[in-house]
């Protein structure tokens, strides 16, 4: 008998290897006969390629090969696919321009892939890359999505001469217009949700080996979903049979969305490994990460909220222009649509909502999901509107939220989602207590006496995790399934290996999933190991994104566990000569109800593999089960954040003095790990609000923020220590009652911080401020108002 493990702060199984330098990341893999690849990238944002001369590079010592887009085209290598088809308001499918792994005829952003040089060493490949001569004819470039839609803007793709990928809408426009017509007050904001560069600390990497012996490939790649990588690469790009390709995503040093996608480099090294019959490895330098990892966010939005005289929400109207970058990345199209507009109800009973999104190609890196993916953008719209509305109507910002909270569940929103459960008042109350909102006025006065400006801001976010079910997602354009797979392999002596399609790259699944399994089986956690990230070991997997792993991957594991216990009962019934219906399983022991007869889990497992006394006529030997789980609905984590800032008006510097976050993730398996996820999410959200902003030069299209000097991800002294707590309304439609926690912090934090800053500056007449609210921009806002 063991203590319950669900809810326990178990230290992580994966830590020892990471703490001792024994982790194995993609760049650590060195294969016999290893060669190295360096990509020649476009220095232009938009240019025609007039010629590429390889001769000098090919003559350089140690250079083995140079490949260009022409070589790939001749070999009939396809373009990188997009996994979600959006149908526009005009009934037409979105524009899907070709996305060749190496440019053909034209480059469309700085960092676009032009050629690859493979060498005996990384130095030889680098030297070779310097010698590839590319003759470009520069073209005018456009980096801003609203400018790209204007007449006369440079066109990136022949099939989209106006640069529009689609215009898409959700909601009842006429009903919303009617609601606005009868509103007592309308709050209107226009803002940019700033473009972010993910910057996992492990740069992307890929190392491919081809074996002539059996015509097979192995690709080691820093990736969040190896089966999806394999499916996309084999079926859509290289035309290879899947059983000949093994994809391994070993230890992966952070992803945050940026390692979901099938990237050009992965395809090119895999293809090149066959041409050379040698392993080919590419590892990004940080400067390559900046220019070529898929970026996040980049919305320009006009948002309006209609209210009655008491601040009750009557309707919301949102128009967004989303910058997709130069090409459609793997899931780019669904982020500013399906994962954005559907979240605009937030935690509120807004009866009618209309959202229209125009997605646009520009001469910038492709944009795709980054931690939160559409949901931070939606939360920012809702929570900035709500807070601003409260200030305009002179209502307490907590009170206006309470007046509009959803209180009965299940709740059908006007933007397609059906929330199963929640308790928004509980998290708001807890966050306000924790943040000592009652004492804020006194602290604000005290700060004012020191010449400082204090502000308090809220964000009450909702998230939708574990996008599902597959058939509905398919009807909305998804070109993939959205289930997860799990396998429980019980060994003859009763220890267990769990195989999961959910990949871990920092989330601690090796511990959390082991807790679930050990708890359900009543085994010591040391008896359970978790394996993930290798298509040759895992039966299938849709991977890790969108805070789905515990809700979808965890449930697949639970379903497999149920089958293990069901079969174990049959075996135990035979061993104890009892009726199967009389067998109960209780924390590691099969018992005959109402008797003292019992068999330990290990005894039953042993009997399954040494079936001497076993019902072989009715039951197969062995104890190994798998399950696929396709959820019936999203899960809906929600929470309330209270942020308190102090601004120095002389320098514009904002200090977060207090950040209180209360989340409802449903059942929590490992509070220590969940808190860690929230800390990380909050810090990325604070980064978006205060320090991070991707900038391209508007004329040349050069990435101005291309290093850690120019693009400031938060450092330790940029962020506070956090106060966290949770409230629990278990998810109603999965057996663990879990919802997911990976993205919450990044979803709620930007609005909380900006609401706090604008609260501090409201009395000076600063109604809104763009993210990131750097010291310079805050200083300018204060002093422009003072000068006026």
């Amino acid at each position: 008998m063991n203590a319950p493990l669900i809810g326990a702060r178990i230290q992580r199984k994966e830590d020892y290897r990471f703490l001792t330098g024994s982790g194995q990341y993609t760049d650590d893999v060195v294969l016999p006969g290893q060669t190295y690849a360096v990509f020649v990238r476009s220095p232009h944002a938009h240019a025609k390629i007039k010629s590429i001369k390889k001769d000098k590079a090919l003559k350089a010592p140690g250079v083995l090969a140079v490949y260009t887009g022409e070589d790939l085209a001749a070999a009939k290598v396809g373009g990188l696919p997009c996994g979600w088809l959006i149908t526009g308001t005009d009934g037409q499918p979105m524009k899907e321009p070709p996305h060749p792994p190496l440019a053909q005829g034209k480059v469309r952003y700085v960092g676009d892939h032009v050629a690859v040089v493979v060498g005996e060493s990384i130095e030889a490949a680098r030297d070779g890359a310097e010698l590839v001569e590319v003759d470009y004819e520069a073209l005018p470039a456009v980096v801003d999505a609203t400018k790209a839609m204007q007449k006369g803007a440079p066109a990136l793709h022949d099939i989209a001469p106006d640069n529009k990928c689609y215009t898409w809408a959700l909601g009842d426009k006429a009903a919303v217009d009617a609601a606005f017509a009868k509103a007592a007050h309308v709050t209107k904001l226009e803002f940019v949700n700033n473009r972010l560069i993910p910057n996992a600390i492990e740069p992307r990497a890929a190392n491919a080996r081809y074996s002539r012996a059996d015509d097979s490939y192995t690709l080691y790649v820093a990736n969040q979903n190896p089966h999806v990588e394999r499916l996309l690469m084999t079926a859509f790009v290289l035309g290879l049979p899947e059983h000949k390709v093994r994809v391994v995503a070993p230890d992966v040093g952070g992803g945050f969305g940026s390692k979901i996608y099938l990237y050009a480099e992965d395809v090119v090294v895999t293809w090149a490994s066959r041409q050379l019959a040698r392993p080919v490895k590419w590892t990004a330098e940080r400067s390559e990460s900046f220019v070529s990892d898929a970026h996040g966010r980049d919305h320009h939005t006009l948002a309006e909220l209609a209210m009655d005289k008491d601040g009750r929400f009557l309707g919301m109207r949102v128009h967004t222009t989303a910058n997709l970058g130069a090409y459609l990345s793997t899931f780019a199209s669904c982020i500013p649509t399906i994962l954005y507009a559907t979240l605009l109800a937030g935690q509120y009973t807004t009866p009618v909502i209309y959202c229209e999104v125009t997605a646009v190609f520009t001469n910038t890196a492709p944009v795709d999901a980054y931690r939160g993916a559409g949901r931070p953008e939606a939360t920012y719209v809702v929570e900035r509107l709500v807070e601003t509305a409260a200030r305009e109507m002179k209502l307490d910002p907590a009170e206006i939220r309470r007046r509009n909270f959803i209180r009965t569940f299940p709740y059908q929103t006007p933007v397609a989602l059906m929330y199963d459960t929640g308790n928004y008042e509980a998290t708001l109350d807890a966050a306000m207590n924790m943040g000592d909102v009652a004492g804020f006025a006194r602290r604000k006065e005290e700060a004012a006496r020191r010449g400082k400006l204090r502000g308090l801001g809220y964000a009450c976010y909702i998230e939708a995790c574990g996008i599902a079910p597959s058939n509905i997602a398919g009807a909305l354009g998804a070109r993939a399934g959205l289930f997860e797979a799990g396998e429980i392999r019980v060994h003859p002596t009763g220890s267990v290996t769990v195989f999961t399609g959910s990949h871990a790259h920092g989330q601690g699944h090796e511990t959390t999933f082991a807790q679930v399994v050990a708890d359900r089986l009543g085994l010591p956690i040391e008896s359970v190991d978790v394996v993930h990230g290798d298509t040759s070991k895992i039966l299938f997997g849709m991977g890790t994104y969108g805070s789905r792993s515990i809700a979808v991957g965890g449930t697949a594991i639970v379903k497999a566990l149920d089958k293990i216990i069901a079969k174990g009962k049959k075996i135990a019934a035979h061993l104890m000569e009892a009726a199967e219906s009389d067998i109960e399983y209780d924390r590691g022991v099969f018992k005959v109800a109402g008797t003292d007869k019992q068999k330990a889990f290990g005894e039953v497992a042993f009997a399954a593999y040494v079936p001497h006394n076993y019902p072989l006529d009715k039951l197969e030997p062995g104890l190994n089960e798998n399950a696929f789980y396709d959820p019936t609905n999203f899960t809906f984590p929600a929470g309330s954040y209270v942020c308190e800032v102090e601004i120095d008006p002389d320098t514009g510097k904002t200090t977060i003095v207090k950040f209180s976050a209360v989340d409802d993730f449903g059942k929590v398996i490992n509070p220590m790990i969940v808190e860690g996820q929230v800390h990380g999410g909050l810090t990325q959200g604070i980064g978006q609000a205060l320090t991070e902003g991707c900038r391209y030069d508007p004329e040349t299209g050069q990435l101005v923020t291309g290093s850690f000097t120019d693009y400031c991800i938060p450092r330790a002294d940029d962020v506070p220590s956090y106060q966290l707590d949770t409230r629990e309304t278990p998810c109603t439609h999965n057996p663990l009652g879990v919802k997911g926690c990976g993205e919450a912090g990044a979803i709620g934090a930007p609005a909380a911080v900006m609401n706090a800053i604008t609260d501090a500056l409201w009395s000076m007449g600063v109604k809104d401020l763009a993210m990131p609210a750097t010291s310079e921009s805050v200083w300018r806002a204060i002093h422009m108002k003072r000068a006026a």
């Binding site: 703490l19 650590d28 600390i201 790259h505 860690g676 800390h679 290093s707």
Partner: protein
């Protein structure tokens, strides 16, 4: 043209012929196969490559191997006891969940050990300032700060 470099790494004398431009971190990873030292930025900003050279934490991506001639180098692989017992700072990172993906972790631990030698009882602010040169994208630093504070006390005994 190759040059010979010799140094002590994790208590063992090592020597190899390398190109003069070979970075110390490349020497450690590629020539010695000690892949616990990571490269996160190539520009001395992220600190994932932090090692100890002659007892001080340095960034191995911003010097060439030749500059470490005759030096005493310790990498993350040389920190735990030979029997595998974690160093008190490593143990504190585990206990306080001061790591997630593990990529920045070796550099964090190496910097923290050096810092703790001179700060046996650091304040939160001192720890945060000491981490200026180490980037983490996963943890939000909250638990790293707790781990280093506890680890420093444990090291001081």
């Amino acid at each position: 043209m190759a040059v010979r470099v010799s140094m002590t790494v994790n208590g063992k004398a090592v020597s190899a012929e390398v190109e003069p431009r070979t970075l110390l971190v490349t020497f450690i990873r590629e020539h010695l196969g000690l892949t616990g030292t990571h490269v996160g930025c190539d520009t001395a900003q992220c600190g994932a490559c932090t090692i100890h050279m002659n007892g001080k934490a340095i960034k191995a991506c911003s010097m060439v191997a030749m500059q470490a001639q005759d030096a005493n180098v310790v990498t993350i692989e040389g920190v735990a006891k030979p029997d595998g017992t974690l160093h008190p700072m490593q143990a504190a990172f585990k206990e306080h969940h001061g790591l997630q993906c593990g990529f920045c972790t070796p550099g964090m631990v190496m910097n923290a050990i050096d810092f703790a030698k001179s700060h046996p009882n650091p304040s939160e602010q001192e720890v945060r300032e000491a981490l200026e040169g180490n980037l983490c994208r996963c943890t939000g630093y909250h638990n790293i700060v707790k781990a280093i504070t506890a680890g420093a006390k444990a090291m001081a005994g």
